[in-house]
């Protein structure tokens, strides 16, 4: 051990540890908990950034001894007591503090920059942020944050508007306002799961399969159990005989229960084989090396083509059961089941056929497809292939659990606390009242934390051993044992007339769900259910089959199937327009839906059941197309000064959903505290997107209370009421509406109580700012006084408003994305010069957060379009297990001219007219960029990612 003497945040400090320890680990252990780790010492993501003797450095790449005499500044050093500095405040104001796992580090970098260059140019800001990976909010508003900080320093206030405001008649809704937890997040407060881990907790370590497909004949843990410090080892042979699935979806789920905690067959490289509970990782690794596993390898399949081939090895081949809707020939079907395999249980039919590797299937449509093609003057028939992008949340999957008062308590980074409770209770075979899930701040979800990927095993391990246990995925495990997008092969056949009318659309979707079937129906369905309804076409049909294979697991990821569907369908539309010699934008304008149009296609697009036909509601699509076309000067050919470069333009019209009408369910409460302030208890899960702030705004708007008088607790299954969770873009529409209803309920109760206290009729009373009941005769009663009386010895009881929200109605967001791209015809290099994202979010409750959500989502989809690639070797092993190998976009990849625009359209169903904003923003980049490349150089690239090599090959360069 050594003592290193240095200065930390201006104070002399002694850091104790081993000479070779990473400075980051020592700093975190010494209480500087804002210094985090997102990349397991790769030196990439920047969550471990400090200022080290005047220069920004990754503390993971500094050994402790090297800090002798150094002057170190961590994000804690930006604070004055608890007061944030002006850069941190500016970041909150600009809306970039969202999931915020490395927002403190970004603040540190920008503060460092401004200390050196009080008026930095854009290139200076780019350089300062060149080594930090921002996945949530994009980079665009960081330039704004710097500008705001400069303005504050020079003028004492912000001058530049952070976003437009909406709805003049409302006081907080539609207005940019600092997120209620923004300061806490950007300060680096202890808000994440890793900050809850008590000293001397055990760790969980997972031994994983080296084979993509194999029976596990035996697992001998006897020697491993003898290692001092090993508490327990769980295998397929001693884990609960409980079938479940890992998707956080409403019960009964449209995903097969095709696994147990650990299985007697491994189905991907990295699949669980044994779970070791030990005092530390070193002990667990030692034990893992002593576990003797006997595998019986089977030939794997990795693509849908391999999975559907005649005689293909079967990924699942056990007995099939149905909770309801079993086909009549089930017994016959099961005669060929493999006795060595576990069951596959469907809650209801998903039209799977596991004996042919089919996990789920669907089809549906309207009109007469063949007639539609016959009427066409031109038909395109193209096949598109998407890849397997990974969410790359900066905070990997983590969970901490302990036993408290005979109950299992889990601190989770999750989008679905109530589904976690239900599924963990099921696995542990205990009732839900024995499980308490606390959703901590989520350092990046993006869909992958809708799946219950670590809480299941961790929860059971805690329940079984009685120990406090912490689990954290390594970054490599995030890639090969987490969840990704479903790779999809999508064939689109589209026919059209010379006047631009589309006469028929056919989609054949073949999806690859990997080893397990979480989301096997619903994600691939979205490829059609979120695309076809945007078209006013009488003849549309889709077929869908989802295949099991042995690739790393897939699951939910922002966009949820729609990004792939849009890539295919808009590219096909572009190809058709090119074939007909007409402008694709004119073709779009001619064939898009408008408000009031009856969406007959929805009948065939329900998730495992018949869908409801509804008219198009609020729709800003045409305005988005028109405005975007004007912004990008659609129709004007841009020329580069360098003849090697060709410039092209493309667009995509897009839609998504706002939650799942008929399936989602949200609840909330608003409590009036004894001093008249409010506590909102929301079942919703704020992933950093601002849902808590939204809930607070609901209460503030209805009850006319200052925002600082409202606190929000959310996602705690003990204190908050049930909510299906934050997925399918449900936050604003469902959880927000529940909070709104709870606020309205409290308002009624306040009026009622005030009428009794004041001796007035209820219709004589109104509520005014700041939280005062006022009678017609001018008498007033503050909320504080009212509540004090209500909770006194003779009071009628604390006032609590309760609200829930379910609906059959859809609040569909629409939009259009435009891209201008330059392609180097000699090297194939691609530059996104301009990207304009225009979307209608109804009334954006938090407009600056909404804009940043759009920037972040577009960057993710630029990522999967041009850069990101999860690659497997021939044995199915993932070889891209680092950020560098996987190739995520950084600030240098952001479009030079990047704008997000909110189209003002009020929705009739959303809370104060709001709709969802962020999933839809994942849908446009791939098709817009593909179209722009085709416009530039005349070639259509139909596979992800679109690389320079593919372009050169298409151009015949080699």
């Amino acid at each position: 051990m050594m003592d290193v003497r240095c200065t930390v945040n201006g104070r002399k400090a002694v850091l104790r540890g081993e000479e070779w320890e990473r400075l980051r680990d020592v700093l975190y252990r010494s209480g500087y908990t804002s210094v985090r780790d997102s990349d397991d010492r790769e030196g990439f993501a920047g969550s471990d950034t400090i200022i080290f003797s005047g220069t920004p450095r990754y503390s993971n790449l500094i050994l402790l001894y090297q800090a002798e005499g150094a002057e170190i500044i961590t994000p804690e050093g930006l604070l004055d007591g608890r007061k944030t500095n002006d850069v941190q405040d500016a970041m909150v104001a600009a809306g970039v503090v969202q999931s915020a796992y490395n927002a403190p580090e970004a603040a540190l970098l920008l503060t460092w920059l401004l200390d050196r260059k009080p008026h930095p140019a854009k290139e200076d800001i780019k350089e300062a942020l060149s080594g930090i990976f921002i996945r949530d909010a994009g980079y665009e508003h960081y330039y704004l944050a710097v500008k705001l900080a400069e303005e504050k320093r020079e003028y004492g206030r912000y001058i530049t508007a952070v976003s437009p405001s909406f709805r003049d008649e409302l006081s907080v809704v539609g207005k940019p306002m600092p997120k209620i937890d923004g300061k806490a997040l950007v300060s680096g407060e202890k808000l994440f799961v890793e900050d809850r881990v008590e000293p001397n907790s055990d760790i969980l370590y997972v031994l994983r399969s080296p084979f993509a497909h194999a029976y596990v004949r035996s697992v001998d843990v006897s020697k491993a159990l003898e290692v001092e410090g090993v508490v327990d080892i769980i295998t397929a042979f001693n884990c609960p005989d409980v079938y479940y699935m890992q998707a956080g979806q409403g019960n009964p789920e449209p995903s097969p229960y095709d696994r147990k905690l650990l299985n007697r067959k491994v189905r991907h490289v990295g699949d669980r084989v044994a779970a070791i509970v030990a005092k530390d990782r070193e002990t667990a690794e030692k034990a893992a090396a002593l576990i003797d596993v006997v595998y019986d390898p089977i030939e794997p399949v990795f693509t849908v083509e391999e999975a559907m081939a005649e005689g293909a090895p079967l990924v699942h081949n056990g007995i099939v059961e149905y909770v309801s809707g079993a086909p009549e020939d089930l017994d016959e079907y099961n005669k060929s089941a493999d006795k060595d395999e576990d069951k596959v249980i469907y809650q209801f039919p998903l039209h799977g056929d596991i004996r042919h590797n089919i996990a789920a299937g669907a089809h549906g449509g309207i009109g007469d497809i063949e007639k539609g093609f016959e009427e066409a003057d031109a038909v395109v028939d193209s096949t598109y292939q998407t890849s397997q992008p990974q969410c790359t949340p900066l905070e990997p999957h983590v969970c901490y659990g302990r036993i408290e008062g005979g109950r299992l308590v889990l601190n989770c980074s999750t989008q679905v606390p109530y589904h976690v409770r239900r599924i963990v209770a099921r696995i542990c075979q205990i009732p839900e009242n024995k499980v308490h899930v606390i959703k901590e701040r989520v350092g990046g979800g993006y869909g992958s934390k809708q799946d219950i990927l670590v809480e299941d095993l961790l929860g059971y391990a805690v329940w079984r051993t009685g120990h406090s246990i912490y689990y954290r995925n390594t970054r490599a495990e995030e890639f090969y044992a987490n969840s990704t997008r479903h790779p999809m092969r999508i064939r689109v056949k589209m026919g059209g007339r010379k006047d631009g009318t589309i006469t028929a659309i056919y989609m054949d979707v073949r999806a690859n769900t990997g080893p397990y079937g979480n989301h096997c129906l619903t994600v691939p369905m979205n490829a059609s259910s979120k695309t076809l309804p945007i078209f006013r076409v009488d003849n549309m049909y889709y077929d869908l089959l989802t295949y099991y294979t042995n690739i790393p697991p897939t699951g939910a990821y922002q966009g949820y199937g729609a990004p792939k569907g849009y890539f295919a369908i808009i590219s096909a539309m572009g190809e058709l327009a090119m074939k007909l010699g007409i402008d694709p934008l004119e073709m779009a304008r001619k064939n898009i839906v408008e408000e009031g149009y009856m969406l007959e296609i929805l009948r065939g697009l329900g998730e495992g059941r018949e869908g409801a036909v509804v008219p198009v509601g609020s729709c800003g699509l045409r305005e988005a197309l028109d405005k975007g076309a004007k912004m990008i000067e659609w129709g004007k050919r841009e020329e580069s000064k360098d003849p090697e470069w060709k410039i092209g333009k493309g667009f995509a019209m897009i839609q998504q959903g706002s939650g799942l009408p008929g399936l989602d369910h949200s609840n909330a409460q608003v409590k009036l505290l004894t001093d008249g302030t409010l506590l909102v208890l929301s079942g919703g899960a704020d992933l950093g997107t601002g849902l808590d702030t939204l809930s607070a705004k609901m209460a503030a708007e209805v009850l006319k209370v200052p925002m600082e008088n409202i606190s929000v607790v959310s996602g705690d299954t003990d204190s908050c009421m049930f909510d299906t969770g934050a997925y399918a873009s449900s936050g604003t529409y469902f959880s927000g509406n529940a909070s709104l209803n709870a606020a309205k309920d409290l308002k009624q109760k306040i009026i009622h109580e005030a009428s009794l206290q004041l001796g007035k009729r209820e219709d004589e009373l109104i509520i005014e700012y700041p939280g005062v009941v006022k009678a017609k005769d001018g008498t007033t009663l503050t909320f504080a006084s009212l509540s004090h009386t209500a909770t006194s010895g003779e009071g009628r009881g604390q006032l609590i408003g309760t609200g829930s929200f379910t609906t059959p109605n859809f609040a569909v967001p629409y939009g259009a994305h435009f891209a201008e791209v330059a392609v180097n015809t000699v090297t194939g290099e691609i530059k996104v010069l301009k990207f304009y994202a225009l979307q209608d979010a109804g009334t954006p409750i938090n407009p600056e957060l909404a804009l940043c959500q759009m920037y972040g989502a577009v960057m993710k989809s630029i990522g999967h379009t041009l850069y990101e690639d999860l690659v497997l070797d021939k044995s199915g092993r993932c070889v891209t297990t680092t950020f560098t190998d996987y190739c995520v976009p950084m600030i240098q990849e952001a479009p030079e001219d990047f704008k997000s625009v909110l189209i003002d359209v009020n929705d009739q169903y959303g809370p104060f007219g709001a709709k969802s904003i962020s999933e839809i923003a994942c849908n446009g980049a791939a098709p817009a960029i593909a179209m722009a490349i085709a416009d530039a150089v005349g070639v259509w690239i139909r596979t992800w990612p679109i690389t320079p090599e593919k372009i050169l090959k298409a151009l015949g360069r080699f």
Binding site: T55, Y58, T827, M890, Q892
Partner: protein, 231 residues
């Protein structure tokens, strides 16, 4: 992990002779990246404090100390623009402030930021080892596979203009090809394949192989079009 702290370069190379499996630690961005669990088996000889980081004019050229950071090289106004640009190929500010020219050259990775442009500028490496000191041209050093010597300094003999290029899918991704030329000196670093030093067509001797950065055919093509014809 064992860390040795020599007080001179001579002592450092002697330690290397005694512990041949050890590695010199200068900036450490490559050596310390992603090491986990294996930390305890590593042995490092820390030369960061005994190696010069100076960048200064010397005769008709510029001498760069082996410990000079890529960030300092990128900022140095006495170096040719294309060499500064090469240092900037390390696109992360934090890594540029830590990585050294000596480390980047010594690793001799095929996607090295600096090796092609150093060759193009006719750079000479001053080396010290247990056998003494010697000067070697960049290509000779790379092709020798020498891991025992310390790169004490790099002398840029030619300050003429040149070009440096890096072909990678994204700023932080591995490069398929890094190339540079100045006058008639060309160098290519091809991912997964090797280096080529010499004239414009010297890349044709490389056996181009396929990896994450692209196919062999793609990389060969890129090498062939990296630079316009010199008239």
């Amino acid at each position: 992990m064992i860390i040795l702290h020599p007080e001179s370069l001579e002592a450092a190379v002697e330690m290397k002779r005694q512990f041949p499996q050890s590695s010199y630690l200068s900036g450490g961005t490559a050596l310390l990246s992603l090491l986990s669990g294996k930390d305890k088996d590593s042995c490092f000889i820390d030369i960061s404090k005994i190696l010069s980081a100076e960048i200064r004019k010397e005769g008709d050229g510029v001498r760069i100390g082996g410990a000079a950071k890529l960030a300092d090289i990128a900022r140095s106004e006495i170096l040719p623009e294309f060499i500064r640009k090469s240092a900037g190929f390390q696109s992360s500010l934090q890594l540029r402030e830590q990585a050294t020219i000596g480390g980047n050259v010594a690793l001799a990775r095929f996607d090295s930021y600096m090796i092609p442009s150093l060759f193009a500028s006719d750079a000479v490496l001053s080396l010290i080892s247990a056998d003494g000191t010697r000067d070697l041209q960049v290509d000779e050093y790379v092709l020798s596979g020498d891991k025992d010597s310390i790169i004490e300094s790099v002398y840029i003999r030619s300050l003429s203009d040149g070009e440096a290029k890096r072909f990678a899918r994204a700023s932080h991704a591995h490069a398929a090809l890094t190339a540079a030329h100045s006058g008639k000196r060309y160098a290519y670093g091809i991912s997964g394949s090797g280096f080529a030093f010499g004239d414009k067509d010297s890349y044709s001797t490389v056996d181009f192989s396929t990896d994450l950065t692209g196919s062999g055919d793609y990389k060969r093509y890129l090498a062939s079009v990296s630079f316009k014809e010199v008239r």
